[in-house]
Structure formats: structure tokens, C-alpha cells
Amino acid sequence: MLEVDSYEHNVLARASLDHCVKCTICETQCPVMRVTPLFSGPKYVGPQAERYRHGESVDHSLDYCSSCGTCTLVCPQGVKIAELNSVARAAMKRDHMPLRDQIISRTTLLGTVMTPVAPIANAVLKFKPARIVAEKTVGIHRDAAMPTAQLTTFTSWFKRHTPSTTPTRGKIIFFHGCAGKYFEVDTAVKAVEVLEHIGYEVVVPKQGCCGMPLQSNGIFDAARKSVRTLAGQLQAGPAGVPIVSTAASCAGMIRHEAREIMGVTDDALIEAGSRTYDISEFLLGLADKGELPLDDLKRIDTEVCYHAPCQLKGQGMGTPAVQLLQLIPGVSVVESGATCCGIAGTYGLKKEKFDVGQAVGKPLFDKVKEVNPELAVCDTETCRWQIRNATGAQVVHPIAFIHEAYGLGKATEPKAGSV
């Protein structure tokens, strides 16, 4: 396969466009088309425009596609609509990549800069005049959700911590993702404590960014470099053991997006992807085999809204968190039923797309407020920030509930790293 930011490397996705029967199912489900006329919809921009593209852009409304992947998911014919669009967007933006898109897609850099000065960084992000300046100069919307920097990184916590149990089940690799390292430290810590509690020896190889934000912004060269490095780093851990992650979208990058969107087919990547699991998927798999200690799960009386992120749904595993949470006595899970929260990685941060993102997320925000305005559950970091920002609810990863049910802490109380 060729590695250019045009259609050639995407032979398979391109071949799939002939399977489009114009049934319009993708159009009925596209959350962006629903709220704005600026995007002419997945069918036009995807399989239809692709026929004319030959590496050139024929329809600039493509930039308004959020890459949520809903179209690919709902297509009964297996057309890779979202993948086609992502490749075409990279080609379209190649010669004039906005500075803003280059900054926001470098999560590791943001984390490295913010962590040492977390309180200051957080204060600046909450300081309206600074946000207005950022909107004017960089193009990040003044009201967009921003991560909260933490004083410690996950990695430094992990080095200092002592496992609570002696391993009985062998080794497991934990993949935390950039957000888990710098911003959502609490989630990563709780995941490790749960895995150790049920008897795993958790190994955390050094790991960089998966390149997902770069990919979704169309910066493919840098994204490929990132994901290749990461695949190598994960492979440096113990061979053949499961790689388990709380960063659902980053896991998706390793499992399929790097290959399907950017044409990366290195053996290391494919091998790492073949043993990567979302943590709820992994734990539910244990439960289904009768290998998850269910009797130890303590009662938590609560009703919460759970939202399955687009990037998780796109991996074809269903919504394992729903079944997993229901294993906890007393927990009642209401699925949001909403398509997308509107953040779509970095889409909803952008000044020209902020309103679209908010409109996309509105049905979800309403549902969260209706079910439990205090607390909601979602698997990916940026979606949690978006839901928090829009509803004021605390939004936690499903693992926070399992952690509490095993008596290891409280779902609503941060375990470590907090400012």
C-alpha cells in the first residue's frame, strides 16, 4: 500500500463505495447533518463525491464531518463511509493545516506543559479573558470543554504504588493513553487497582500518544509515526498478554483506525491490536466465562445514564459497559440512546464548530439531566469533558463503579492525582 494522504492507500475503503445502494440510512442517523445545513451528509460527501475525487477535493462541506463514524456503523452494506471521508479530509487540508489543529492534536505536549503548573494552567483555562484571546488567536471556542491538569501523572503514581494483592492470574498490560497519564489520572489509577484486586500483575510499558487527534485532524504523517512508536512500546511489554485500556478511542486507533484510515499495516501494529481490549469488554469477557468474582461486588444503589462513545461503538463490541455495570447489585443503567456527544475528539472545541457540537450533543445532555443530573457514565475522556461542561454532572468511566463495588474507593471521589 502507498502511504500518501490521498485515496490510493485506501483501496479497500474505496472499493466498498460500490456497495452503496443509496438507501439513505446513513443520512437518517448522521448527527451532524441533523443539526446543520453546513454538512451535506455522509452519502453525498462519502461514496458519491469519492467517485469524482481522484485525490482532489470536490466538496468542502466535508470539513464539517465530525468523523464520529456513525455512518459506517449503521450502513447495512458495509460501506466505509467515515473512513473515506477522513482520508479525503486529510487530502483537502494538506497544504493549509490550521495552526490550531496542529496544537490541539498534540495531547502529550499539552500534558507535559500543563502538569508541572497544573493549578496555574487550570486557572488560566477558567479565566474568561484568556479564553477569549485563545478563541481569537488560535480558534478554540471560549466555552469549549478543556481538560483539568493534575499535579501528578499516572506514571509517577504507578511507580510509587504498591499492589494490594499478590498476583494469581499472571501479567496484563495496561494502556492508559495520554489523557489517562495527564488528565484523567483517577480513571487510570482505578483501573489498575481493579485489575490488581482481581489478581493480575499489571505492567505499564512506557507509552506515547496513539496519534488519534492528529489523525482526526488530517495530520497523517505525524499520526503514523506516533502509532508506530506506540505499537513498538506496547510490544516491548510481556509478549502475548492482553493489552487492556480505559482509553476507548485510543484503543480503537490501534485496533483498526490506523490501518483502515491511514493504511498502516505493520506487523507490530496488527499484533498489538489483536490483543487490545477495552477494559469493560475485557472484564465482561471474564464474567461471561465465570472468571470475574461477582460475589464480592457490593451494592451501590443508584440510577445513572450511560453514554456509549462513537469510537467505542465503531469497534463492533456492542456496549459491554452496560452489562458490566448491571452486574453490580443496585445499579440501574439507562442507556442514553443518543448518537454522539458532539465533541468528536477535537471537533467540538473549534470555534467554527462549537455550536454544531453543542446541538449534536443536546439530546444526550437532556437525557443525562433527566436520568441523574449529578452523575453520568461514559468511556472516553473527551466525551466526558464535553458532557461535564454541558450538563454540570460529574461524569465517570465505568471502571469507577467497579472500583467502588469492590470496596476500593468511591466512584465520585478522585483517587489520586487530583488538584
Partner: protein, 416 residues
């Protein structure tokens, strides 16, 4: 309680999955994409032509089965179809009305007259009735519906049961957003759901243009989440109002699809949407697991029972290669025909035997091999994959889908 995997999210898969879940089984529904419901009219056909216009579907069953011994209804029988229809009507009273013993005549968007048994409350006033007059109103910005075409055909066509109707076409301007010149029915439906003032705007515009006709027909776009908008409109306009189903995306079909999906979620079925089933493992004549295509690595999903509801040619479950060979994609099930060349005639209007190709089953819906024995003891085939019917010509697709789902459920029995 059995672990049941249902494959397919069309009418038959959704009905089977929900019913099995209600009967306390552990149900996982796997489907690559949304099923055919929202491409349909959102009505329930049982038997419309045999080949003449059918007035009472079940009264015609015996003769129809005798004339078509290979038809799915011959294996399903009457009872499962009736049970499925009753179950659906009880489940979705706000979306399904009508008398299963009696077909009605509903207008299509081109003004043809179509037999169907159960329909949505929003279509009830559109049951074409001898001597009545209809105002057919189109929107200039909704290109999928020509009121002139519809009205002229309705007026010139005699009713299948005798007599005729008169219809007059009207047009209104109704922009969903300022300057929007080409909107889908779904755009209208969502605007009517979300914006009460848009309902008023529609009612006022209709009131201004129509003449003294008895009843008002509108394109089917009267709300997706709220199926009662037709009642508000009828009140505001002062006449009965009904919807005429359009081309896909069909709003009435989407209503049923979403209602069934919501019910499945609520009932606690596991849903795996967006994934193909690509293979399976069998042992001692039974399927033991099916392979779910996932990102990075496939998953073997253990199953005590598999209900296979993958649709037919349209959904890709039946495939035709460039040499004209027909095959079934997932389990390589034996088909009633394998060579397309023998099954297609050059006459467009002639019955095409190709479309009757599919899987044969016993009365419990287990897929049969050439020897007449079940291929796998626990594999049930339902819906459009079944051989022997030309669904769109007979108007039998939904009855087959529901009936076969209920025949399978009946054979599987209750959980606990």
C-alpha cells in the same frame, strides 16, 4: 434460559429478539447496520395479492397455500402470523392499528392503491373510501412527493372493492429553514417534532389553499418522535388528516424501527450493532458459537440457539457472483436455487423465479438441507431469507417476517 444470538435487525430479527427476551432468554442481537424497516412504508402487509386483490388475508390463506405449496406461509401456518400481529399491536398501540382479518386500501405517493392489513393511526383517515373526496397537499420544498401525480391517479383509478374517489392536488410553500429549497421528509418530521410553531405554520398554509374536500392527505412527515401530530393538525385544519408514505427514508418505518430498538434496550437485550457475523463453529450437528467481526480481533460468541434473520438479496445475505452462482453468505446454507441464469426471464413484468430463491425450513423454522433434515439442530431462519415468496408483488413481506419469527419463538419456548 438459553443464550440466544439473533442475527439481523430487520422486522423479523427485532421481533424475534424482543419476544425471546420477554420470555426470559439471554438475547444478543448482532447486526451489521440498520435493517429494512425504515425503507418500508411503516405498515404491516400480510397478503395483498394472490394474485388478485385480497380482501381478507387469513380467509385467503388456505387457497393461497394450496396454490403455492413452497411459500413460507405453507410452513409457518396461520397461528404464528396471527400471534405475531397481535403481539405487535399490543406492544405498539400508538403505531399499529387495523383489523388483521381485513385488508384496507391505502394510497401510495404515485396515487396507486395498495392493500395492507395494519397501518399507523396517522394513516387511518387515508383508508380510501367510496364516494369521498381528498385534498392531496404537497410542499414545494419536498421533491419526493408530487401531489398532482398522486391526486390524478387516485381520481382515475377505480377502487379495488368498487366505486371511486375524487382527489384534488394542492401545493404550499413550507421552508424548514429560510431559503432551504430541497428538504427530506425526515427534516420536516424533526421540525414538526421540535417546533410547535412549525405545526401551526403547516396547518395555516393547508387551511388557506384547500377546497371543500372531506379529508386532507399529506406526505408522511408528521413527526418522528411524536406520532400524534396528525391529531393536532386535524384539529387546527378542521378536517381529518392522514399521511401518505414516501420513498426512503420513510418516517413511518423509522418510527417502528426506533420503537422496537428502544423496547429491546429496555428489555435488557445485548445489542452489538455495526458488526457482521462472518463465521461460526459447529459440533455434533449444532452451532456452538458465531464469529463477530470486531476491530483488531474477532470474537467467538457462544450460542445455545441462533436465530438467523439476515434479509435476502437486498441486504446482501444472498449473494450472486459474476458467474451467476447464488449463495448464502454466513452459514453457506443450502438454497432452493443456485444458478441465476435459469431463474431470470427477459420480460420485466414477468414473475422472476430468482427472487423466490432462499432457505427452506421445517415448521419450526430450522433451515433444511437437501435431504430434508435440519442442517443444524439449533439454527432457525426467519424473514426474507426464506424461499418461495415474491414479497413486494404479494405484499407478504411483513407477515412472513413476523410469522416466521413467532414460529421460531414458539419452537424455542420460554426460558427460566
Amino acid at each position: 434460559m438459553a443464550r440466544i444470538v439473533v442475527i439481523g435487525a430487520g422486522f423479523s430479527g427485532l421481533a424475534a429478539a424482543l419476544r425471546l427476551r420477554q420470555l426470559n432468554h439471554e438475547v444478543t442481537l448482532v447486526a451489521k447496520g440498520v435493517g429494512g424497516l425504515q425503507l418500508s412504508q411503516g405498515t404491516v402487509d400480510i397478503l395483498g395479492y394472490a394474485p388478485e386483490w385480497v380482501q381478507a388475508p387469513f380467509k385467503s390463506f388456505a387457497a393461497f397455500i394450496e396454490a403455492n405449496p413452497d411459500h413460507p406461509y405453507a410452513t409457518i401456518g396461520t397461528q404464528p402470523v396471527k400471534r405475531g400481529l397481535t403481539w405487535l399491536s399490543d406492544l405498539l398501540p400508538g403505531l399499529v392499528v387495523g383489523d388483521m382479518e381485513k385488508n384496507v386500501c391505502l394510497p401510495t405517493p404515485v396515487g396507486a392503491m395498495r392493500p395492507t392489513a395494519l397501518y399507523q393511526p396517522s394513516m387511518a383517515s387515508g383508508v380510501l373510501t367510496k364516494g369521498k373526496s381528498y385534498a392531496i397537499v404537497g410542499f414545494n420544498q419536498l421533491k419526493d412527493f408530487s401531489p398532482e401525480f398522486c391526486a390524478a391517479n387516485l381520481t382515475r383509478t377505480p377502487l379495488p372493492t368498487g366505486g371511486s374517489v375524487t382527489a384534488t392536488a394542492y401545493r404550499i410553500d413550507l421552508e424548514v429553514a429560510p431559503g432551504e429549497a430541497d428538504s427530506s421528509a425526515l427534516r420536516y418530521a424533526r421540525a414538526l417534532d421540535d417546533r410547535p410553531e412549525f405545526r401551526t405554520r403547516l396547518a395555516d398554509a393547508v387551511k388557506t389553499v384547500i377546497g371543500p374536500e372531506d379529508i386532507v392527505g399529506l406526505p408522511a412527515c408528521l413527526g418522528l418522535d411524536d406520532p400524534t401530530i396528525h391529531i393536532d393538525l386535524a384539529q387546527a385544519i378542521g378536517r381529518p388528516v392522514f399521511e401518505i408514505p414516501l420513498l426512503p427514508p420513510g418516517v413511518p418505518g423509522m418510527r417502528i424501527n426506533e420503537a422496537l430498538m428502544r423496547a429491546l434496550r429496555k428489555a435488557g437485550a445485548r445489542l452489538v450493532l455495526g458488526s457482521f457475523i462472518t463465521g461460526f463453529e459447529a459440533s455434533a450437528g449444532s452451532i456452538v458459537s458465531v464469529t463477530v467481526q470486531q476491530a483488531g480481533h474477532d470474537r467467538e460468541l457462544p450460542a445455545d440457539i441462533v436465530v438467523y434473520a439476515p434479509g435476502g438479496f437486498e441486504s446482501g445475505a444472498l449473494t450472486l457472483d459474476s458467474a451467476g452462482k447464488i449463495s448464502e453468505r454466513t452459514f453457506d446454507l443450502p438454497l432452493t436455487g443456485t444458478n441465476a441464469a435459469d431463474l431470470v426471464t427477459g420480460d420485466y413484468w414477468h414473475d422472476q423465479a430468482l427472487f423466490k430463491v432462499g432457505v427452506r425450513t421445517d415448521s419450526t423454522m430450522r433451515a433444511l438441507g437437501p435431504d430434508g433434515a435440519p442442517v443444524y439442530g439449533n439454527l432457525y431462519a426467519v424473514g426474507s431469507i426464506l424461499s418461495g415468496a415474491t414479497r413486494w408483488a404479494e405484499k407478504s413481506g411483513e407477515g412472513i417476517a413476523l410469522g416466521s419469527a413467532f414460529a421460531a419463538v414458539n419452537a424455542i419456548g420460554g426460558g427460566k
